[in-house]
C-alpha cells in the first residue's frame, strides 16, 4: 500500500483541481442554461451531456490527437509553458474536466431550474446586483445541487481511468493515478495488493462521503 502514496496524492490533487475548475466553468454554464430563452439551448444541453457517450479510452485517443505537441492546442501550450500538454498533469486536468463536465453541469442546472424568480426579484429590489444575488441567494438555495455536482465530479475523477491512462501515460508520480495503479495490480495478477488498495479506497471514501453528507444534513427542504 505504501507504494500507492504518490498515486493517492496525485489522484486527490487531480480530483480537487478538476472539481474546482469545473465549479468555476460549470456554474455559469448551468446558470445560463437554466435561464436562457435562446433557441440553441437544447443543442448546448446535448453537448454538455455528450462527453459520456464515448468510452473513456476512445475519448483519450481523440484527446491524444487533439492535444499532441504538433496540434495547434498542444503546440500553443508548449510555447507558453515549455511542457507538453499530453502526459502532464495539465493534460490530465483538461481530460478530466472534459470527461466530468456532465456531472457538474447537469445537477447544477436541475438545482437552478427550481429556484423561482420570486426570491431573485426580492433580492434585486433590496439592492443586490446579479452577482451578489447569485452568491447570497442562488448559491445557498441550491446548496444540495452544488454538493451533488461536486461529489459526482470529484468521485468520477477519482474513478476515472481510461481517459487518464491514455492522456497521462501512467508515469509514476506524474500521471499514474490511483485507479491506474489499481488496474495494474489486477492486470498483473497482484490480487492481494489490488484487494487492499480497493478496500482502502472504498472505506476511506465511505467515511469521507458520509461526513460530507452528514455536514450537509440540514437540507433546505421543508421551507416552501
Amino acid at each position: 500500500m505504501s507504494g500507492s502514496v504518490p498515486a493517492i496524492l496525485l489522484t486527490l490533487n487531480l480530483a480537487a483541481v478538476t472539481t474546482l475548475i469545473l465549479f468555476v466553468l460549470g456554474t455559469p454554464l448551468a446558470w445560463w442554461l437554466a435561464n436562457t430563452r435562446s433557441r440553441v439551448r437544447p443543442f448546448i444541453e446535448a453537448i454538455t451531456a455528450l462527453p459520456l457517450i464515448l468510452p473513456p479510452t476512445v475519448i483519450g485517443f481523440y484527446l491524444l490527437i487533439l492535444l499532441n505537441p504538433t496540434a495547434p492546442i498542444g503546440r500553443f501550450w508548449v510555447t507558453v509553458t515549455g511542457d507538453t500538454l499530453t502526459f502532464s498533469f495539465a493534460g490530465l486536468v483538461i481530460a478530466s474536466i472534459l470527461y466530468s463536465l456532465p456531472f457538474m453541469v447537469q445537477p447544477l442546472q436541475t438545482a437552478f431550474d427550481r429556484i423561482g424568480r420570486d426570491q431573485i426579484e426580492a433580492a434585486a429590489s433590496l439592492g443586490a446586483s446579479p452577482l451578489d444575488r447569485f452568491f447570497s441567494l442562488v448559491l445557498p438555495l441550491s446548496a444540495r445541487g452544488f454538493l451533488t455536482a461536486g461529489i459526482l465530479t470529484f468521485i468520477h475523477t477519482i474513478g476515472e481511468f481510461g481517459v487518464v491512462l491514455m492522456v497521462g501515460g501512467n508515469i509514476p508520480g506524474r500521471t499514474r493515478t490511483l485507479s491506474i495503479a489499481l488496474y495494474d495490480h489486477v492486470e498483473a495478477l497482484r490480487y492481494d495488493q489490488a484487494h487492499a488498495l480497493a478496500a482502502g479506497l472504498v472505506i476511506l471514501s465511505l467515511i469521507v462521503l458520509s461526513l460530507v453528507y452528514w455536514l450537509n444534513r440540514r437540507s433546505p427542504r421543508h421551507d416552501g
Partner: protein, 229 residues
Amino acid sequence: SAAAEEALIAVAANFTRPAEDLAAAFQAETGHTIRIATGSTGALYAQIRQGAPYDVFLAADTERPARLVADGLADADTLTPYAMGRLVLVGADTADLPPLDRLRAGDVQRLALANADLAPYGRAAEQVLDRLDVCLPERQRLRGQNVAQTLAMFTTGNADLAFIARAQLGGIGPSSASLIPADWHDPIRQDAVLLLQARDNEAARAWMDFLISPTATDILDAYGYGAAE
C-alpha cells in the same frame, strides 16, 4: 464428427487482426465457426477464472496460460506456443537517422513503451534499454498498458519513438522502423491453451491443431511474427 461446430476464442487485444485472418482461413478449411472475444490478457485470465464461456485462450504471454493450467482450468496437454513476437522501434520517417540510432544518440524527447508489468513487449523493451544503457528519465518514458496504446501514443504524435510489435507495423502510416535483434531480450512467446470446459468442442480442438499448421504459420509470418520454436 463432420458437423460444423463453433468455438469462442479469447484473444489478447493486440493479436486481434491476425486472429481474424486465422479464423477466416480456418473456417474456409474446416467449416467450423470461430468467434473472437478480445481483451487484455490479465482481464481475460480473470474472466476465465470466473467461468467465462471461452473455449480457447490465446494469451500475449506464457505466464497466464500456465497459471490456468495450474488452476486446473486448462488442458496442460494443449499448451502451445503459437507465435513469437518481435520488437521494433519506430520513429518518424522524416528523421535522418534510423530510430535505433536516435535512441542510442539520446535524440529522443518521449519514448513510448508498454508497461513491463503487464505486457511482454514492455519487459522486452526495458531489457533493450538496459542493454543499450540508455538512461532516460522516468518522465520521458510513456507507458501504455499494452502495445496498442503504446502505438497510439506514437501515431497521435505524442511520442517520437515507440517500442511496438512488428505485427503492428502494417497498421501505421509512413514511418521508419528498426527491428530489434531477437537475442537482445527474452523471447516474447505467446502461448495458446484449450480450456477444460471445451474438451469436447470439435471446433476448438481443430483450432488448436490449426494454430501450428503451415497455413497458420504463413499468415503469422506475413504479420511479422517469428515462428514458434
